[in-house]
Symmetry: C2
Amino acid sequence: MTTNKLAPLATALTLSTALLLSTCLITRAADEPISPIVPAVVKNPKLVELGKKLFFDPRLSKSGFISCNSCHNLSMGGTDNLKTSIGHNWNKGPINAPTVLNSSLNVAQFWDGRALTLQDQAGGPIANPGEMAFTHDLAIAFLSSVPGYVEEFKSAFGNDKITIEEATRAIAAFEETLVTPNSRFDKWLKGDKTAITPTELAGYELFKDSGCTACHNGSAVGGNTFQKMGVVEPYQSDNRAEGRIAVTKEEADRFNFKVPTLRNVELTYPYFHDGEAGTLSKAVDIMGRIQLGKKFTPAENAKIVAFLKTLTGDQPDFKLPILPPSTDKTEPPHPFN
Amino acid sequence: MTTNKLAPLATALTLSTALLLSTCLITRAADEPISPIVPAVVKNPKLVELGKKLFFDPRLSKSGFISCNSCHNLSMGGTDNLKTSIGHNWNKGPINAPTVLNSSLNVAQFWDGRALTLQDQAGGPIANPGEMAFTHDLAIAFLSSVPGYVEEFKSAFGNDKITIEEATRAIAAFEETLVTPNSRFDKWLKGDKTAITPTELAGYELFKDSGCTACHNGSAVGGNTFQKMGVVEPYQSDNRAEGRIAVTKEEADRFNFKVPTLRNVELTYPYFHDGEAGTLSKAVDIMGRIQLGKKFTPAENAKIVAFLKTLTGDQPDFKLPILPPSTDKTEPPHPFN
């Protein structure tokens, strides 16, 4: 009886404690330069499903062999894990393929930020002669020849005419779902102190204290500013990319690149715009020296690497899309001419 | 009360009717030269899951860019929908990539049957300089450098040493699951008379009456014999493949090729070992003339094509596999040298 009488009080106390705890946790996370990834909210499932198919469809390339997923492989951290990508006719790409995971959190797309939106970006590789080597017109002619696509575009956009704007909007809508919440670090940020080890936590403290978070901050742990590659000492590279100057034509933007996200960085090797850092350890070492003027000891390097590996979140979780077949009206691909 | 008393009798009658009907249906299906696809029974899920990852892993190629799924794309009927495939360094393959769907039902693998089993087949492209351009030793060195794979191999095979036999066995185990039951034609075979239209049925009758089922029979509607390409008149092709003679060295086997499965043939264009028939209509026309000495009228051709499109079954239905990451010990891919 006594127990029963006390029950409402106990509940009230539990609730207040929970409230108090949750307030503390919110405060705690707010104090950190990194914030948790917010899960995607799908507003238009039809558009996302269509975009997913387009993302996986190699028929958007001249060869019929290269899809968005070829270089932004969702089985491999949204990258191809190559220094620079392979394009049409085995073309050696000029720059490392950035991960598509969490790319919706970027201030702009491409290393030099030349596309302001995911939709703008999506049209680029399709028409790039060294990548998918198609044209927007041919892409639309292909899509319009496939009844399965005609139906899905109609269902998603409510009209009969397929356009490149619609196609890239669908791809962007799919890409917006490719965020990776629930990393161990995010669990720690949200208050689960057991989610990361003391070594990983020490790595995070060192990451902050060393100044890494000056650039690698926010929910993507990067992606939100352009910064010079080689602040303290110049970065040596055979790669010819000059960074943001290509967009702004301002000399001050030479070698300014979009700061890459460090989310899922364990999966997105090799690193830097030239892909020359094959390991996280090498990347941390170079960043320390050329950006911060710090030479991390092996023990410090290992701690930071341990922290970085806590940033791996939920990977894409959906069924392999089945693509609608071409028809007799579809122009076949031209892989060898 | 009367109703209740009669209930057991009614049940008995219903059961006998069902039994009788099902016997009729079995007899009916048994009378047909084509039998329904039997769904896969997964005996060893760990092995299948491992094989799925290996099937999707481009790191089994020298370039790190080409996986089994590149040419046997499970989003596109288990093929690449190219005349002949693209291999390492954009090599133009010598022959059309056969679908991996229902390949477990084939009498042997490859167009010339040079591999007796799926496991034998799986090792071929990995080490073929014009395909994945790797070696079995390098493939094993790669797998052994990835803790995620080491763990999965240990779990699937119960030992610590990864071998190419284990890797190909896992790929084969996954491929054995890639059968495509529940096509509309199979539903018709099992007694659902509404599953195909009168035109499609007329196409099937014509397919049988014309002699197509002499070669295209069994549950895969092909795949179970080698037959000469060009029985009534020679097949003209620039393709240099000579067929089964490459394996048997018997002159009688020149231009004998494994009869391709017609399951999912709507998805596996273009057709023939040289991929020169871009449409089903063209394939049916050529087959009629050179194999059977028949010139199908446009109406006949359309009926047969309509029937063939009823052979599309359940496509692969699983989540995109997420691959275990490489480590500092993993030799990076060599796409450009």
